[in-house]
């Protein structure tokens, strides 16, 4: 039984991390790139505004950072909860 509750804590931590990551994922693409673009229109970037940059480049860079952050964090979580392979 002890092992199961340990797995449950691991899964809970994972869900929390996924939640945070997906909030950022949605914020940079649907948020800054589309819905919140009018709010960012005051910030000029190379002949246009920040929202345009997020839609065409910024969101992609954030996606990259998110995947590597998640992989790094999860590999640490695996070790902490003793659920890693090997």
């Amino acid at each position: 039984m002890r092992k199961e509750s340990k797995d449950a804590a691991y899964w809970k931590a994972n869900i929390r991390l996924i939640g945070i990551s997906l909030v950022i994922w949605a914020l940079v693409s649907f948020g800054f790139g589309i819905l919140l673009r009018p709010m960012l229109s005051g910030i000029a970037v190379g002949g246009t505004d920040l929202g345009f940059w997020f839609a065409q480049q910024g969101s992609i860079l954030v996606f990259l950072a998110l995947i590597f952050f998640y992989a790094w964090r999860m590999n640490k979580l695996d070790a902490q909860h003793g659920v890693n392979e090997e």
């Binding site: 199961e4 797995d7 649907f30 673009r37 345009f52 839609a55 065409q56 998640y70």
Partner: protein, 595 residues
Amino acid sequence: MDQFTVNLIFVGASFALYIGIAIWARAGSTSDFYAAGRGVHPVTNGMATAADWMSAASFISMAGLIAFTGYDNSTFLMGWTGGYVLLALLLAPYLRKFGKFTVSEFIGDRFYSQTARMVAVICLIVASTTYVIGQMTGVGVAFGRFLEVDNTTGLLIGACVVFAYAVFGGMKGVTYTQVAQYCVLIMAYTIPAIFISLQLTGNPIPALGLFGEHQASGEPLLAKLDQIVTELGFNAYTAHHGDTLNMVLFTLSLMIGTAGLPHVIMRFFTVPRVADARWSAGWTLVFIALLYLTAPAVGAMARLNITELMWPNGTNGEAVSVEQIANAPEYDWMATWEQTGLLGWEDKNGDGRIQYYNDADADMQQVAAERGWEGNELTNFNRDILVLANPEIANLPGWVIGLVAAGGLAAALSTAAGLLLAISSAVSHDLIKGAINPGISEKGELMSARVAMAVAIAVATYLGLNPPGFAAQTVALAFGIAAASIFPALMMGIFSTRINNSGAVAGMLAGLLVTVIYIFLHKGWFFIPDTNTFTDADPLLGPIKSTSFGAVGAMINFITAYVVAGMTKEPPEEIQDMVESIRVPRGAGAAAADH
């Protein structure tokens, strides 16, 4: 040496390279074929996956759609990269832990139902076939230009080459061939972009040049572009014009669809460890991002170049003359592309000049009346030719043009062949052997695989002649179908222990049917032209175009599954235990082939 010979050398040399590597790294047996990803570094695996995934839609079509629409088509950029976040966080590590090789196997086992497996197979076949239609559009454009024939002839020749390529093993699963394809593809995409960025902005990195200064005018490049296109009555490049809800749903469809496409997901089943599945998704996106960060620069810079070529004396001066187009070397590309039937111009008012402007714009109609114009005279500019024509438009050296031809063909052929293999194995292995006739001989299975492949390519070629959209738009429909059918089933299979066989089957069927019917209502039944009731200019449901409907279909899938599962018996104990076990990496052995 003429351009045709140069193209031939580049295309021939690149194919010789792929075949050479395939022979050198010849995998001996079926399990070697499946295990090709194992023992391969995540970086190498990421590169191979990127080559596998980036198709005619990404390479040939996408920048053209961005060029002629501007900001609104950023959806393709966000959608086709954002899906990798979902893949890395929600699917890849768990499917790796599950340890089988195909998506339909996972769905069949997790939902302990042969029916669920069959429904998943049908979803895969429908999505993959639609995907191939989009690839064939790109193949037609690339072969038409490369062989200097019209688009239809190019498509028919291309179809034969794709079929041969797929039948002779497709060189699929040989990771190092794909690595070579990636290198050819990315060089072909970025080298012309670097040249053009240097010409226009002085910055060797196109992604930075896009936000840099237009050297000829001293203004920011995008401000200059906005100015000249609005002067011709077109929408400002950087401004938002379309419907916001549709834009959000379209982006979401592409994202979910990316995470639901079987040939991408499969790559993550075979990495050595669960941790590698997480890293691999990241590396794949790194290699995809190299193209995707360059694409918006390619689009914007090409639009600027084309507009300036059509208005060599500025938008307030005189337009380019018919004589210039016929004689000046920088207009040679127009004659070359006219042969394909994908580019056309016509001196409607007989003034010896070709006026390119937006004749649907009220202000421009007034200007046109004053200046004696009788409509836009650049009558046809197919979006799918932009990337392939781009080096010629920018007057780059012949070897760059040859390289782009090789890259475009690599992108279209490898993905088309891979999809045909996936369709044929789904039909012969999963449908016929798995359900209809389990006692079929190995020879019979192979025969049915070939027949399925021939049928799929015939259908795709026929529909590719009158495609439901430009390559990337057709591919977007395939993503919508995958988003509505496969992704929700996979996600619920991992994140909910409560979804049972009936829920999953009902959800997949509801998502698939509603989405496919919505698409057929707008694009024609089975994509046959002129059988549609609605158009995407005036969709059935408010602003929601058929290309964006995948996200709605996915919601329908989730809701149906939860409601049906809630009303029926919960999954047996051992299935719930299995779900618990795939959530933790511990004890993930080598993936096992079910063959």
